[in-house]
């Protein structure tokens, strides 16, 4: 019945949109312009790839290594995505819909792993579970000489999952918070068990949110270099990185194109999966469903939340503290003190990127959610492509294009923020769109019938309802910008340092003790901003 209901609504909507086609056309034009602007830098990849001989390109793409590395990459992406759903969705439900004790605390600890830069997270795992790591040291007096290796596919999946599942957590949570709880109550009155009510009512409702988060996880796993490298698992980004190291940009570009093809494949899969989202009830409201009482499940639920928080937060922070304490002679301070300005630079950049992304995401997400033709979700799909581009590829593309077409912006903060928007806009688009999908278009009709202009109807009715999605999007963009490294290094103004460039600098120099303090501050500061955002989310 849901599907039919939805189609009828769409038809209704189509007829109304004919009536006021001008706002929709305007929306389409704006969205298209934004997505074209964001895709423009990728032209560079094609320009460079064109410099390679065709036969050589084919040889490169069909070599045994390329094929096996491609399979490795797909295995990693699939594993990380599935595992993230298995962790992120239960956490979101526990913190949003149950009587779990200390819910706000667990909400924050569940979202926070996203702020841990992957190179610190992966390093912490190797220090703890690697050969001769902390765990091995603890077990060796017990006569256990060998522990299973942390390196390889399983280690890479584990570490990437633990630091990216918050994408699924946040988007799912946003969906849970903005959907109308009374439908669950209704299902319960119709003699549905909790599980049936969840499967038949809640799950279809939050599916777009889960899909949006899972897509971000999959594309992140595809484009990440640091974690697989530390976990000694060979993936595609390492091939690209090696070609950059060899200063062979044409090869790197051909390989980047293959990476983009994989990203498009992931997008296509996600599109097919969430085509089913039309089956979702289009219903939303501020009425929360009654809390699910956990009963005996309270203890396992708490253990689950605690275990995840321990692995994702306590462990890396513990390793950072260990760095701090171990800073003996060889780690001793050099001449580079951390300056408060670096922190403000990071925060300023992240805030700017988040603000621009939220504004740019709104028309794109709205068009995609409410658009009636097949092409209306094209701009939305297009924004995801930028997310799959490794930072170093995007960085050099913007160096090249910036120098030629906007030299006055070269090595300026503006170009850097533009890079962040290219990389992270889909995070805002995804969360915003899944919230809009849950708003009953009838609300707007009602507002219009009361004589409101379409824009002010949108502002007064839709915007408050999608605010949680927008806040989650802003949080995601803010947090990921704070820890972004490759594009920041390549595009920042000379002499402009941030948290991550400073950590990179001292870590590269081997001064781990000095890296610990700013890394801890980075996590702390991001945690605070998370607190603010989650609080706003709750009151909206």
């Amino acid at each position: 019945m849901g599907t039919k209901d939805r189609y009828e609504r769409l038809r209704e909507q189509a007829t109304t949109s004919e009536r006021d086609s001008s706002p929709h056309t305007l929306l389409a034009v704006v969205s298209l312009a934004i997505s074209l602007l964001l895709l423009a830098p990728l032209v560079w990849v094609f320009l460079r790839a064109g410099e390679i001989e065709f036969a050589r390109a084919v040889e490169l793409l069909t070599s045994d290594t390329t094929v096996s590395v491609t399979l490795n990459t797909l295995a990693l992406v699939t594993g990380v995505t599935v595992a993230s759903i298995l962790i992120g969705v239960p956490l979101a439900i526990l913190t949003a819909q149950t009587d779990l004790p200390f819910k706000r605390f667990w909400t924050i600890t569940s979202a926070l792993p996203l702020v841990v830069p992957s190179y610190i997270g992966a390093f912490a795992f190797v220090s703890a579970f690697g050969p001769r790591g902390v765990l091995a040291d603890l077990l060796s007096p017990l006569g256990i000489e060998q522990i299973p290796t942390i390196y390889g596919l399983h280690g890479a999946i584990l570490v990437l999952t633990l630091f990216t599942y918050p994408y699924v957590f946040l988007t799912t949570r946003a969906s849970l918070l903005s959907f109308d709880g009374t439908v669950v109550e209704a299902a319960r009155t119709l003699n549905h068990t909790r599980w049936e009510a969840f499967r038949r009512v809640t799950l279809p409702q939050i599916a777009p949110g889960i899909a949006a988060g899972a897509l971000l996880v999959a594309l992140y796993a595809l484009s990440d270099f640091g974690t697989p490298a530390i976990m000694q698992y060979d993936v595609f980004t390492r091939m690209i990185y090696n070609e950059f190291g060899a200063r062979r940009l044409d090869y790197a570009s051909v390989l980047s194109m293959l990476l983009l093809v994989m990203a498009l494949g992931i997008l296509a899969v996600e599109s097919r999966l969430s085509a089913g989202r039309d089956g979702a009830y289009v219903s939303s409201g501020s009425r929360r469903p009654g809390l699910i009482r956990l009963g005996y499940w309270k203890v396992p639920a708490l253990l689950f939340c605690g275990a995840i928080a321990t692995l994702c937060l306590v462990l890396p922070i513990g390793i950072l503290l260990q760095w701090l304490l171990r800073s003996g002679t060889g780690y001793s301070a050099g001449g580079f003190a951390f300056e408060a300005a670096y922190a403000w630079n990071s925060v300023g950049l992240a805030a700017a990127a988040a603000a621009i992304c939220v504004v740019a995401a709104l028309p794109i997400a709205y068009l995609s959610a409410r658009g009636t033709s097949g092409v209306s979700s094209l701009p939305e799909r297009a924004t995801y492509v930028g997310y799959a581009v490794p930072g170093v590829v995007l960085g050099l593309a913007l160096v090249y294009l910036g120098l030629r077409y906007v030299p006055f912006l070269y090595q300026s903060v503006i170009l850097l923020v533009f890079a962040y928007v290219i990389r992270f806009l889909p995070q805002a688009v995804g969360t915003t769109e899944s919230s809009i999908l849950q708003v009953d278009p009838g609300y707007i009709e009602a507002a219009r019938s009361l004589g409101y202009h379409p824009l002010s109807a949108f502002r007064k009715v839709v915007l408050p309802l999608v605010a949680p999605g927008i806040a989650a999007g802003a949080a995601l963009v803010f947090l990921t910008t704070m820890k972004e490294l490759p594009a920041t290094l390549m595009l920042r103004p000379t002499g402009f340092e941030t948290f991550v460039t400073y950590i990179w600098l001292v870590q590269g120099a081997g001064y781990y003790g000095q890296a610990a303090v700013p890394a801890l501050v980075l996590v702390g500061l991001s945690g605070l901003s998370m607190l603010v955002i989650l609080r706003r989310e709750d009151t909206s």
């Binding site: 090696n242 950059f244 190291g245 200063r247 960085g395 160096v399 120098l403 460039t501 590269g508």
Partner: protein
């Protein structure tokens, strides 16, 4: 030297200069252009300096490896013209961060001198400079890199300007570009860190070619094939023995059992941990492990005359189109001064590039190493190496 307004630090350096003379007697004379306590200050703007007092001990590191060193020989910065003005410096490589200490010291010494630095991975900066040069002019005045290959790539793209003869003349020919487009400032020897509890130095063959037959190294070695220094080593092997033999060696090493790491500091640390019996790494990582973890069971062996004995350099070059050529030249001379070279030797544990300064600890002198005869600029051909590593299934 006309030391009428000399500051105290200046006098301290003069005292240091006479100590230098002793080093010069020890067999390092000839290249010393000044600093031996007398007449080297003809181009120095004597006495105008009002900067903080910076002494040799500021340049020199500390700890057990550095104790009881003799004074460095070579040209003292006291005998060089003052640095003055703003220099834009592209600084390549993670370890390049260590060099910031030196830049900071120079900035303290010369209040009128500012170095705007930009620190990134060497190959990224090389790519950037080449793009910038093609698009017009690079904002960079000087490119300082831990990797001769990156310097060579920029030079081969015609993006460099000429270096001062005073700088080129102090550095042995092997450690500068044959056309003088870049010059080495610190040397990094390929070496074999090993765990002294697990094997002894005699277990390590004297050429890397014999490693796949060495029983003691079976299933217990580590390397970092995506690391630039390792790729330079493989490039050197290709230049010496050709692609086919290099390929067989890579495959034989894999058959012998070898673990992959992402950088050589971790390879060296893993040797100290006992995770590995031995590894392929630059020499200074072992010294840094020793310095950070006293009494850790890690030793350092060198092979002879083959790619495994390659000595690569950090270096610098002046970038084409700079409007700061004089300052850039003067800066290069400062980096090759006695004090700066002492800095590289004692703070980064690198091989100094001027003969008057000795490496730290028990390291063999640079002229006691037995490196292969290789033109370091040819190490720029990393692309062929990456192909080979990939075909061998190593990358």
């Amino acid at each position: 030297m006309t030391g009428r307004n000399a500051t105290q630090s200046r006098r301290r350096f003069l005292a240091l200069g006479s100590a230098t003379a002793a080093t010069a007697l020890a067999g390092c004379s000839g290249i010393l252009s000044g600093g031996d306590g007398g007449d080297g200050g003809s181009d120095g703007e004597a006495g105008t300096t009002t900067g903080q007092q910076i002494s040799l001990s500021d340049f020199r590191g500390s700890g057990p490896l550095v104790a009881q060193r003799e004074a460095p020989g070579g040209t003292s910065i006291e005998d060089l013209p003052d640095l003055s003005g703003e220099l834009t410096l592209y600084l390549g490589g993670g370890e390049g961060g260590l060099y910031l200490d030196l830049i900071n010291l120079l900035e303290q010494r010369y209040p009128d001198f500012t170095a705007n630095h930009r620190l990134e991975a060497s190959s990224d900066l090389a790519n950037t400079i080449i793009e910038e040069n093609e698009a017009g002019a690079s904002p960079a005045d000087v490119f300082m890199s831990i990797d001769a290959g990156s310097l060579g790539a920029v030079a081969n793209a015609d993006a460099t300007a000429s270096l001062p003869d005073e700088a080129l003349s102090t550095v042995p020919d092997a450690y500068q570009d044959s056309e003088g487009r870049w010059v080495g400032i610190a040397g990094r020897a390929r070496a074999i860190p090993y765990n002294t509890n697990q094997i002894s130095e005699s277990d390590i063959p004297s050429t890397v070619q014999e490693f796949p037959e060495a029983a003691a190294l079976e299933n217990s070695m580590g390397w970092a094939p995506s690391y630039g220094a390792f790729q330079s080593f493989v490039t050197a092997m290709r230049l010496i023995r050709g692609n086919d033999e290099t390929m067989s060696w890579l495959q034989a090493m894999q058959d012998h059992g070898i673990t992959t790491y992402d950088d050589e500091f971790r390879v060296s640390n893993s040797c100290a941990d006992g995770e590995l019996a031995a590894g392929f790494a630059n020499h200074y990582y072992t010294l840094r492990v020793q310095s950070a973890r006293e009494n850790s069971p890690i030793g350092l062996a060198f092979t002879e005359g083959d790619a495994g004995a390659l000595v690569n350099v950090s270096g610098l070059e002046i970038i084409n189109g700079t409007d700061n050529a004089d300052l850039a030249s003067n800066f290069v001379r400062h980096v090759l001064s006695a004090e700066a070279q002492e800095f590289f030797a004692t703070r980064t544990f690198a091989y100094p590039m001027i003969p008057g300064v000795a490496p730290v600890g028990d390291l063999p002198r640079i002229d006691e190493l037995n490196p292969p005869e290789i033109n370091l600029t040819e190490l720029a051909d990393v692309a062929g190496t990456v192909d080979l590593l990939r075909d061998a299934g190593v990358l």
